[in-house]
């Protein structure tokens, strides 16, 4: 039912401009312990990149290292051709990079509206306009703008987190497990929206444990294991690679989807 060549063709059709590039990145939290051991990744303009891998592989660490939240000890990270190693997070935001962390991704004591406002802290003028866009995706939020994010359910928080990042109309979007905790219908919506946003030209890098869904919409995917990119390929190639299935995707989804 899938049609791999089409996907590949589409990827090829994208511009070749490299937006995000990690070359041989080494990074870690504790002194002397590297979590990323020479990770490489390329995201070209308009690409939707999926990253999958086992728990603790370093996927979140990879995103955090792009966003300057982890000490990068070796290698280089460039965004739009410029090295951004050591740059503060708010500078990256100025360059149009948005990030949804995996955990602690909302401001609990702020209301939903304020959380969203924080999303476009640097450009508050377009609030109304963007709010409409975001609440179009997650209608639930629109109705409870005054509720404090700390009292939201897990899924609702996730929606707020996504929305916050989408508020600022980024040119590069980093998503760490955006679908976790969302109900199936919202998950699908989220994937579709991410895909749509990406199609509109936003380079997107997405970490997902909902690997099948993720790879279905990705242009290219990376499998990260033990801090290194173990596999790379188009979403379809990875989806069908038996090794990837055996080690990372499992067969549960396969059975049911079939």
């Amino acid at each position: 039912m899938t049609d791999a060549p089409t996907g590949a063709a589409q990827a090829a059709a994208l511009s070749d401009e490299v937006i995000v590039e990690l070359t041989d990145v080494h990074a870690g939290y504790l002194p002397g312990v590297n979590i990323l051991n020479g990770a490489n990744l390329v995201a070209r303009k308009g690409e939707l990149i999926g990253i999958i891998g086992p728990n603790g592989a370093g996927k979140s660490t990879l995103l955090k290292s792009i966003f300057g939240m982890v000490h990068v000890r070796g290698g280089d990270i460039t965004v739009k051709g410029e090295s951004i190693v050591g740059l503060k997070a708010d500078r990256l935001v100025q360059r149009g990079v948005a990030f949804v962390p995996q955990t602690n991704n909302v401001f609990p004591s702020l209301t939903i509206a304020e959380n969203l406002q924080m999303g476009l802290y640097q450009n508050p003028k377009i609030y109304e306009e963007r709010l409409e866009f975001v609440t179009g995706i997650f209608e639930e939020l629109g109705k409870r703008l005054k509720q404090r994010a700390g009292s939201l359910s897990g899924g609702e928080r996730q929606m707020v987190a996504m929305s916050r990042a989408l508020m600022m109309d980024p040119s590069v979007l980093l998503l760490d497990e955006p679908s976790a905790g969302l109900s199936p219908v919202r998950q699908d919506d989220a994937f579709i929206r991410v895909s749509d946003i990406n199609k509109a030209g936003v380079t997107t890098i997405m970490v997902e444990q909902n690997a099948r869904r993720c790879l279905q919409i990705c242009d290219r995917g990376y499998v990260l294991d033990q801090g290194k990119d173990a596999y790379e390929g188009t979403g379809r190639e990875l989806l069908e690679d038996p090794k990837v299935i055996g080690l990372y995707l499992g067969t549960l989804g396969q059975d049911d989807a079939a």
């Binding site: 503060k88 708010d90 602690n104 401001f107 004591s109 802290y121 009292s151 600022m168």
Partner: protein, 467 residues
């Protein structure tokens, strides 16, 4: 101001027994006849006229002076009685004197011993006697007589025996008036405290740092003002402006020189708290180094108060209260409505995420420190006028109350800091109507604990949800 007339003072200062004690007791002695009274009155008038020159001389001038004397004054219904005859007798020595126009008398005696004193009750006004029961403690009445008693010297060579006869009148403030007056005073104090608390609450609300050096930031304002005015004799307004600017500078310097770098090092809040304790110690003694250990007054401190019913306020109080209120409300607006204000709360929740949202965390925190320093310095100047006086450790003296206030209101809440401060202020001022004054701060602290018992998150705090 409502004025109460009290029968508080009896003749000899003890009125608990009720009624106009010390007045001649009809059961014990009948009033004299009209004739005698007339004579007595005439005599006293004549006497007064005759000895008028002597009245200008000090009491006791009629005697040979020694190192030891009895003295006192005699009044009836608050008016001095002139010409009362008092005699002393003991150790073979006797002497007599009369009270002067001020009701004063003095009797020198040759040595420190027990003497018997006798007031000639006939020279007292009509119907007045000296009730033995009402004599001061330590003066023992002689059995079977009135107006006669034994008195002894204490450690010194002087023994005073005042006889305040008749119903005294003392105007005291009624309880209700005291309550009102003190409540207003408490609000005044509370607003001042609120101004100081705002800064601490702001720092806490942004960085989760309980800044124990905040007291010194308050003192700093007062110290700069006093340096400018008292030490360098600059006009007051210069001092005040300088204090506020210096407050902002201190806030800036603290963040730029200390807290900013420490944030980069990733110290935990408890570690930072201990650092702030060290800083508080260092700063406090820097201030002592600057102005010494004494108290200094700013020009114009404690001007004449204005009276509004039971409430007395000076224009400084009113100015201070207005400034506090405006500043506090402005802060509340800043925190809840402006972008940076919201950013402070966002940073408090999660600095990393705040940075990831494009907030320049360091810059916002810098601004917060500057605002906090400014507010603290302003409250320092007001505190200087409120107390009044500048002292190197005056900020530390209110630190606990500041913490008490912001916790009571709910940590991190601007409105909470204001309400908490008012509660603390009123508790401190009003509670001593019931409890000893040396426990006045305990009342504020107790208020905190009671509030936390009922609302563990403080008045304006919110509980986090679970799961």
């Amino acid at each position: 101001m409502s004025v109460t007339r009290t029968a508080s003072l009896g003749p000899l200062g003890r009125t608990q027994r009720g009624g106009p004690v010390g007045l001649r007791n009809p059961a014990r002695r009948r009033p004299r006849s009209g004739l005698l009274a007339l004579i007595a009155a005439l005599a006293s008038v004549m006497l007064a006229v005759l000895i008028a020159p002597a009245a200008f001389a000090a009491p006791g001038d009629d005697q040979e002076k020694t190192d030891f004397y009895f003295a006192g004054s005699i009044t009836f219904e608050d008016a001095p009685i002139d010409g009362v005859v008092i005699g002393v007798d003991g150790g073979g020595f006797t002497a007599e004197t009369k009270t002067d126009a001020e009701g004063k008398w003095r009797l020198y005696v040759p040595e420190k011993d027990t003497y018997r004193l006798k007031v000639d009750e006939d020279t007292l006004p009509e119907g007045v006697i000296i009730d033995a029961e009402q004599l001061p403690p330590g003066v023992s009445p002689v059995e079977g007589s009135t107006g006669e008693f034994d008195a002894e010297f204490g450690l010194t060579g002087t023994k005073i025996i005042n006889l305040f006869l008749g119903e005294g009148e003392r105007i005291t403030t009624s309880f209700a008036d005291q309550l009102i007056g003190r409540t207003i005073g408490g609000i005044n104090f509370g607003l001042l405290l609120g101004l100081a608390s705002m800064g601490a609450a702001l720092i806490y609300g942004t960085t989760r740092l309980g800044n124990f050096a905040h007291g010194e930031m308050v003192s700093w304002g007062g110290v700069i003002a006093v340096l400018c005015t008292s030490f360098w004799s600059l006009p007051l307004w210069v001092g005040v402006v300088a204090a506020v600017i210096a407050g902002a500078l201190l806030g800036w310097a603290m963040d730029a020189g200390l807290w900013g770098p420490l944030r980069k090092r990733g110290l935990g809040v408890v570690q930072l708290m201990i650092v702030s304790i060290g800083l508080s110690l260092a700063l406090r003694y820097v201030l002592q180094f600057m102005i010494g250990g004494g108290t200094h007054q700013l020009p114009g401190a404690s001007p004449d108060p204005m009276h509004f019913g039971p409430v007395t306020l000076s224009y400084i109080d009113i100015t201070g209260m207005s400034i506090s209120l405006v500043a506090i409300l402005a802060m509340a607006y800043f925190l809840n409505r402006t972008r940076i204000g919201k950013a402070t709360r966002a940073i408090s929740d999660n600095p990393q995420l705040a940075a990831a949202s494009g907030i320049d965390v360091d810059r916002v925190i810098r601004i917060v420190w500057i605002i906090s320093g400014t507010l603290a310095a302003m409250s320092g100047v007001l505190w200087t006028y409120f107390r009044p006086g500048v002292q190197w450790n005056m900020g530390m003296q209110m630190l606990l109350l500041i913490f008490c206030a912001i916790t009571l209101g709910g940590l991190g809440s601007a409105m909470g800091a204001l309400i908490g401060s008012l509660i603390v202020g009123v508790a401190v001022e009003v509670s001593t109507l019931w409890i000893p004054t040396d426990l006045k701060y305990a009342s504020a602290l107790l208020a905190l604990i009671i509030v936390l018992l009922v609302r563990p998150q403080g008045l304006f705090g919110r509980r986090e949800r679970l799961g």
